[in-house]
Amino acid sequence: MTTDSIKWFGYSSPQTFFPLAGRIARICAVLAVVFGVAGLYTGLFVAPTDATQGEVYRVIFIHVPAAWMSMFLYVVMAFWAAVGLSFNTRLSFLMARALAPTGALFTFIALWTGSLWGKPTWGTWWVWDARLTSELILLFLYFGFIALQASIDERRRADRAGAVLAIVGVVNIPIIYYSVKWWNTLHQGASVSFTKAPSMAATMFTGMILMALCFWMYSIAVALTRVRCEIAENP
């Protein structure tokens, strides 16, 4: 084992990780502001008006990045929960615990902005189609994870119970992602995928990516700050 790998394992200790988390959180907070300002400027002032939807399509710059983050944060939360369950590492459980509120927040934002986009374009605030329903189930999974941990007094048991729920719930992520392919839904298909070029103007795509980077950096900054609070409260 090299000296470098020992150093990395050293960061799995909450006390060693505490100052590192503070440094990373500060950098990510600054990057979130930079990407956010650039993304909002591009989305609201540079990107052209959509030919069919008009101005209301600008909700996309919040809605799509928030929906991506809602799924991504759940996968990361389940990953840390699985690591914690496998190796019984306290920091892994702390990471999972810290990600849940932000994941729930982005899921709510995705649903809220989707509803506000749906009304003028579909003529309804809500439909029980596969994409919307599976995203709502994701919100309930986040709430379930938070509530389950809060309801068990003994910390270790709460962490393990939450971890099992997080891991089981991860099955919902591919269902959300592929719901528009597997079922007939009112929700449109993916505008961006790993296999195809984006089906939108370059400036629209740039604005969306900048906002996604903003939300990503924001999530890291907030989650790491929450981990630091958890460590400080339960040394």
Binding site: G54, W112, T113
Partner: protein
């Protein structure tokens, strides 16, 4: 934008209020932890 202003600003406004609220609550918790 006027025809759809309610939907656009409703989306942006609520998003930023919620994010700001999360940051505020976290910073408050951080301050309380230190004291």
């Amino acid at each position: 934008m006027s025809r759809h202003a309610f939907y656009i600003w409703g989306a942006y406004g609520v998003t930023f209020v919620l994010l700001a609220l999360e940051v505020y609550m976290l910073l408050k918790r951080k301050r309380e932890t230190k004291t």
